[in-house]
C-alpha cells in the first residue's frame, strides 16, 4: 500500500475543511468550526492500474493536513506542508480576493518546496453558488481566468462544491493516480538500476527529504 501526504492551503473560509470532510466522511456541515493550527484526517482510495495486466486495484492512503486560512498563521504552514506529496490550493469562486491569496500560496510552494514532484492542484470551491441559469449567480472568478493561470503554472485545476460534493472525489482520484504514476516510475527506474529488492513494496511510505527548515516558524 502506498501512502501520500497531502496538504490543503488557502484563505480562511474558502472551504478547505469542508472539502476534506466531504472527501473523508462524505458529509457537509454549514457551521464547521474554523480551523486552528491544522487538522489531520486520512482516507484511502483505489487506483486501477491500466498499464499493468493485473486486475487488482491498488490501494493508496492519503494523510491529509487541513490548515488554518488566516494570513496571521501563514508562518506556521511550512510545518504542515513539509514532506507533502501534493498540495491542494483552494479559493472561493465567489470571492475574487481568495484567488490572489491562492496564487500567493502557489508561489510560496514553488519557492520554498522547490520540488518538481510536488503536485499542486488549484481548486475553486463553492461551485453550487454559481448557477448561471439562475440570477442568483455569485460567481466572481471566471473559470477561464483560473484555468489559464493553472495551465501557465502547470497545476491541476478543478472547480468543485463541498456542499453538493460535485467534483470532490474526482480531484482526489486524479491526484492519487498521478502520485501513483510518479511513484511507479520512480520504482521502475530504481529497479532498472539495482534490479533487486523492490518486490516487497507493500509497506512503502513516501518520505521526501525536507527541503525547508522545519523549525523556521518558531525558532
Amino acid at each position: 500500500m502506498f501512502q501520500f501526504k497531502l496538504v490543503l492551503l488557502g484563505d480562511s473560509s474558502v472551504g478547505k475543511s469542508s472539502i476534506v470532510h466531504r472527501f473523508v466522511k462524505d458529509s457537509f456541515d454549514d457551521f464547521r468550526e474554523s480551523t486552528i493550527g491544522a487538522a489531520f484526517l486520512s482516507q484511502t482510495i483505489k487506483i486501477r492500474d491500466t498499464s499493468s495486466d493485473s486486475t487488482e486495484d491498488t490501494v493508496i492512503k492519503f494523510e491529509i493536513w487541513d490548515t488554518a486560512g488566516q494570513e496571521r498563521y501563514k508562518s506556521l504552514a511550512p510545518m504542515y506542508y513539509r514532506n507533502a506529496n501534493a498540495a491542494l490550493v483552494v479559493y472561493d469562486i465567489t470571492q475574487q480576493d481568495s484567488l490572489s491569496k491562492a496564487q500567493n500560496w502557489v508561489n510560496e510552494l514553488k519557492n520554498k518546496v522547490g520540488d518538481e514532484d510536488l503536485i499542486i492542484c488549484l481548486l475553486g470551491n463553492k461551485l453550487d453558488l454559481c448557477d448561471s441559469s439562475d440570477n442568483g449567480d455569485k460567481r466572481a472568478v471566471m473559470t477561464d481566468e483560473a484555468k489559464v493561470y493553472a495551465e501557465e503554472q502547470d497545476l491541476l485545476f478543478y472547480e468543485v462544491s463541498a456542499k453538493t460534493g460535485q467534483g470532490v472525489k474526482d480531484v482526489f482520484q486524479s491526484i492519487g493516480e498521478k502520485l501513483y504514476q510518479i511513484k511507479k516510475e520512480e520504482m521502475l527506474s530504481k529497479k532498472g538500476r539495482q534490479a533487486a529488492s523492490a518486490k516487497d513494496s507493500v509497506n512503502v511510505k513516501l518520505q521526501r527529504p525536507s527541503t525547508n527548515d522545519p523549525t523556521s516558524c518558531c525558532y
Binding site: 480562511s12 457551521f31 474554523s34 486552528i36 493550527g37 491544522a38 490501494v59 496571521r72 506556521l76 510545518m79
Partner: protein
C-alpha cells in the same frame, strides 16, 4: 422593612434538667429581612409559653406548611413583634447564620429511647455557651409526623440523604439553602458552616494518615504488576481488534491486520517469548515501516492506560497520585525535593466546589469580600464553581471587571462601564464614516467580514448559539430542525440570533479598542465562553478586553508570544520530563510545535464546552502562576509520554497524535497533575537557587557537591564551570510569577500581516 419566615419547626425542646417535666417546648425558626443577603438570616428559638394564641397559631400553621413543602424555603411575611418579644423570654436565643461555626446533628435512637438533637456552635466562644442543645420531639411535632407518615407510605423511611428521617434533617435542608454547609470526614455528625479551606482540610484527615514515603519494595511491586496489567491489557486490545477487524474487513481493519505486531499477536496469542521479542530493537525497526498504524497503537495504548488509571483511581483514590509522584514524577524519598503533607493534601483534595451559598459567605453585609483574595482563589482553584449563576459573578471578579475590594453597591453602579461600551465603541462603530484611505477602508471591511465568518461558525452546537432566529429559539417548536435558511443559502445569511450578534458586536468593538491587534482567528473561541457565562454584551466586552490583556501574546504577527511559551514549556519539559524531552528530540519535535493549538485557545478545542469553562476558571485565578496553562500542557505531555515514547518517532506522527486528543482526556486528573508538577517545579527552582548561592559563596572550591540535584557540573579540571542553571532561565523564572505576562502587538502598518 419586612420580615420573612423562611423555616419553622414546632416541638423543639430544651431539656434544662434530667426531669422530663422541666422540658421546655418551643419553635425553631429562621427569618430574614427583605434586603439582606441569605447569610444574614437569623435563627431563633422561641419558647411556646411566651407566645400569645395568635402567634402560636401562626407558627404552628407554618410548621405544617413547611412539613408539606418538600424542604422548600418559605417566604411568608411575619409579624416581627414575635422576634422582638422573644428577646426577653426565658431560654430563648437567636443567632445570625453567618455567625455559626458548626452544627452537630445527633440522630434519635432507633428504638425511640432518646430524641434527635442538634448542637449549635458559634464563632464567638461567649455566645457558644448561651445556646442550649435542641431536642426534636418528632413524635408530637405535626410536620415531622406528617413527613414520617408520607415516607413510610412510600416504604422509604429514609430521607434524600439516605439517613433515617428525623426532624433535624428538615432543619439541615433548610439551612443548607442559606449558608454553605459541609459534612466533615472525621466526625460525621459535625457539619461546618461557611468553612474555610483550612478547616475543610483539617477535618478531612484521610490524606494525613498516609506518608508519601511508601516503601520502595511495595512500590516496585505495585509498579511492576501495574505494568504487567497494562501490557497484558494492551495485548488483549490488539488481538481483540485484530479479531474483530478480520470479520468486518474495513480498510482500517486491513491495515491493522497487516501490522506485524498484530500478525504476531494473532499467531502466538499466548506465547511469552513473543512478548519478549516485541521489545527487541529489531522488532521496533520492522515497525518503522508501518508508521500510520503506530499512531493507532499509541492511541490504543493510551486508552488502555486510561482505563487502567481509572480502575486504579477508583480503587485506591489517595495512593494513586502518591504513587504517581514517585513512579512518574521521579519523586522519591531520596530526592532533595520533597512534598510536605500539607502541600499534598492541598493538591489532592479537589472536592469542595464553590456553591452559591459558599460564595455568598465570602462577603460581609456590605457585599465586600471578607476573606483575602488569595483564600477565595484557593477555593476556586481547588474546587471550581458549581453553578451557572455563581459562575457569572465569579468570572466578573476573575476578569477584573468587578474590583476585588468593591462593595455590592459599587458593583451595581457599573452603569458607567455600560455607557462607555455603548458610546465609546459601539456607537463609534455604528456611526463610522468611510475612511478616506481606501487601504484602511478595505482593511476594515476585511476585518468585519472575517469576524462574521468566524462568529457564524462558532460553537453552533450549543443551544444558545444554535438557531439563527431573532429570539435564538428553535423556529419550529415541534423540535424539527429547520432547513438551513429560507433560501437555503447559508453563504450570505444574515446573523439574527441575538447572542451571535452580541459576539459579533463585541469582536468588532474590540477591533476598534485594539486597532493594532485587530481580530485574529481564534478570538471568537476565546470570547464564546465568556459571553456564554456573563450573558451581557457590555460586561462581556470588558471581560474580554481584560482577558485579552493576557491572551494578546498568543496572536502577535511574529508569533513571538506563543514562541516564548513554547520555549518555556520546552525548558520545563527538559527539567521535569527528561525522558520525554529526549524522545521528542529524536522525533524532530523538540520545539513542541504540536502544542500550538492547545496553547493558542487554552484547550478550547480539546475539551467539551463545560469542561473548558472549568479549566479556564482555574487558570484565571493565577493562584500558583499566571501561566498555569503551561503546567496543564505539561501534564498532558506527562500523561501521554508513555505511549508517545513507545510508539511514535516522527514529527508528523507526534503532530497527528496530539491533534487527535479531543475527547480522550480527563481534565480533573490533568489539573491535579498540573498542580503537582508546579509544586515540584517551584521546589526544584528553590533548590537550584540555594545551590547557586552556595556556589557563589565558595568560588573555586572543588568539594562543594552537596546532595542537591546535579544540574551543574565541574569541568575536567575541577573548576567550577557553571553550566547555566535552569533556575536562571528567564523563561522558567517567569513561570513563578502570578502577574500576567503582557505582550502587545506593535503598530499596524500597510504591510502588516492580516
Amino acid at each position: 422593612m419586612s420580615t420573612k419566615l423562611l423555616f419553622c419547626k414546632a416541638k423543639t425542646f430544651i431539656h434544662p434538667t434530667k426531669q422530663a417535666g422541666d422540658n421546655v417546648s418551643g419553635f425553631l425558626i429562621i427569618t430574614s429581612k427583605d434586603d439582606l443577603s441569605k447569610q444574614e438570616s437569623v435563627l431563633t428559638w422561641i419558647p411556646e409559653s411566651g407566645l400569645n394564641r395568635k402567634q402560636a397559631n401562626f407558627l404552628n400553621a407554618a410548621d405544617v406548611r413547611f412539613g408539606g413543602s418538600e424542604g422548600n424555603l418559605g417566604s411568608s411575611k411575619m409579624d416581627s413583634s414575635i422576634l422582638i418579644e422573644a428577646v426577653g423570654m426565658p431560654w430563648s436565643f437567636s443567632i445570625t447564620l453567618r455567625c455559626l461555626y458548626s452544627l452537630e446533628f445527633r440522630q434519635p435512637s432507633p428504638n425511640g429511647w432518646w430524641h434527635g438533637s442538634i448542637i449549635l456552635h458559634s464563632r464567638s466562644p461567649e455566645e457558644d455557651d448561651t445556646m442550649p442543645v435542641l431536642f426534636f420531639h418528632d413524635d408530637i411535632c405535626p410536620s415531622s409526623k406528617e413527613r414520617t407518615k408520607r415516607l413510610n407510605k412510600s416504604f422509604t423511611p429514609f430521607s434524600d440523604s439516605g439517613e433515617i428521617y428525623w426532624g433535624g434533617i428538615d432543619f439541615r435542608n433548610a439551612i443548607r439553602k442559606l449558608v454553605d454547609l459541609q459534612k466533615t470526614h472525621v466526625e460525621p455528625t459535625m457539619w461546618l458552616v461557611n468553612a474555610t479551606l483550612d478547616d475543610l482540610r483539617n477535618f478531612s484527615p484521610q490524606q494525613l494518615e498516609k506518608k508519601v514515603n511508601l516503601s520502595r519494595d511495595e512500590l516496585d511491586k505495585s509498579k511492576s504488576s501495574w505494568w504487567d496489567r497494562l501490557e497484558s491489557a494492551k495485548w488483549g486490545v490488539m488481538s481483540a481488534i485484530a479479531d474483530a477487524t478480520s470479520k468486518t474487513g474495513t480498510f482500517v481493519g486491513g491495515l491493522v491486520k497487516q501490522h506485524p505486531l498484530v500478525k504476531l499477536a494473532e499467531r502466538n496469542s499466548d506465547n511469552p517469548y513473543v512478548r519478549k521479542m516485541l521489545e527487541n530493537p529489531r522488532v521496533q525497526e520492522v515497525q518503522d515501516d508501518f508508521d500510520s498504524a503506530r499512531v493507532y497503537l499509541a492511541k490504543w495504548a493510551l486508552g488502555v492506560k486510561q482505563q487502567a488509571d481509572m480502575y486504579q483511581k477508583n480503587h485506591e483514590i489517595d495512593s494513586f497520585y502518591r504513587k504517581l509522584l514517585i513512579t512518574e514524577l521521579n519523586f522519591d524519598s531520596k530526592s532533595d525535593v520533597q512534598f510536605t503533607e500539607e502541600e499534598l493534601s492541598t493538591a489532592l483534595e479537589r472536592k469542595f466546589p464553590v456553591t452559591q451559598q459558599k460564595w455568598e459567605s465570602f462577603f460581609d453585609s456590605q457585599g465586600r469580600l471578607s476573606l483575602t483574595v488569595n483564600e477565595v482563589k484557593d477555593f476556586i482553584f481547588h474546587g471550581g464553581v458549581q453553578d451557572f449563576d455563581t459562575r457569572k459573578e465569579v468570572w466578573l471578579f476573575l476578569l477584573n471587571v468587578y474590583p476585588w475590594d468593591s462593595s455590592a453597591d459599587e458593583r451595581i453602579q457599573l452603569t458607567s462601564l455600560k455607557d462607555s461600551y455603548e458610546n465609546d465603541y459601539k456607537n463609534k462603530w455604528l456611526t463610522r464614516v468611510e475612511h478616506e484611505d481606501p487601504f484602511e477602508e478595505e482593511y476594515w471591511r476585511d476585518q468585519l467580514c472575517r469576524i462574521e465568518k468566524d462568529v457564524r461558525r462558532n460553537d453552533r452546537d450549543l443551544p444558545l448559539y444554535q438557531f439563527n432566529t431573532v429570539d435564538g429559539r428553535c423556529p419550529d417548536p415541534q423540535g424539527n430542525l429547520p432547513e438551513t435558511d429560507e433560501n437555503g443559502d447559508e453563504h450570505c445569511m444574515e446573523l439574527k440570533n441575538p447572542h451571535l450578534l452580541a459576539l459579533r458586536n463585541i469582536l468588532v468593538c474590540y477591533n476598534l479598542y485594539n486597532p493594532d491587534l485587530g481580530y485574529v482567528q481564534g478570538m471568537a473561541d476565546l470570547l464564546s465562553p465568556i459571553y456564554y457565562i456573563v450573558r451581557d454584551e457590555a460586561l462581556s466586552f470588558w471581560c474580554f478586553v481584560n482577558f485579552m490583556d493576557r491572551m494578546e501574546r498568543n496572536f502577535l504577527r511574529d508569533q513571538s508570544g506563543i514562541r516564548d511559551q513554547m520555549i518555556a514549556l520546552t525548558e520545563l519539559c527538559q527539567l521535569l520530563l527528561p525522558n520525554l524531552s529526549e524522545h521528542l528530540n529524536k522525533c524532530d519535535s523538540s520545539n513542541l510545535f504540536f502544542c500550538f493549538r492547545m496553547l493558542l485557545v487554552w484547550f478550547k478545542r480539546e475539551f467539551e464546552f463545560n469542561e473548558v469553562c472549568s479549566i479556564w476558571e482555574i487558570f484565571l485565578t493565577d493562584f500558583y502562576s499566571s501561566q498555569f496553562q503551561l503546567f496543564f500542557m505539561l501534564a498532558i505531555l506527562q500523561k501521554n509520554s508513555q505511549p508517545v515514547i513507545q510508539n511514535l518517532n516522527q514529527f508528523d506522527q507526534v503532530l497527528e497524535y496530539f491533534n487527535g486528543l479531543h475527547g480522550t482526556m480527563d481534565w480533573n486528573d490533568l489539573m491535579t497533575r498540573s498542580e503537582l508538577l508546579f509544586i515540584r517545579f517551584r521546589k526544584v527552582m528553590n533548590v537550584m537557587d540555594k545551590k547557586k548561592e552556595l556556589n557563589e559563596e565558595i568560588p573555586n572550591s572543588t568539594g562543594t557537591q552537596s546532595s542537591g540535584i546535579e544540574l551543574h557540573e565541574l569541568d575536567e579540571n575541577g573548576n567550577e564551570e557553571l553550566v547555566q542553571l535552569p533556575s536562571t532561565s528567564t523563561y522558567l523564572r517567569s513561570l513563578l510569577s502570578k502577574n500576567i505576562v503582557i505582550q502587545r502587538e506593535g503598530p499596524r502598518t500597510k504591510n502588516s500581516i492580516r
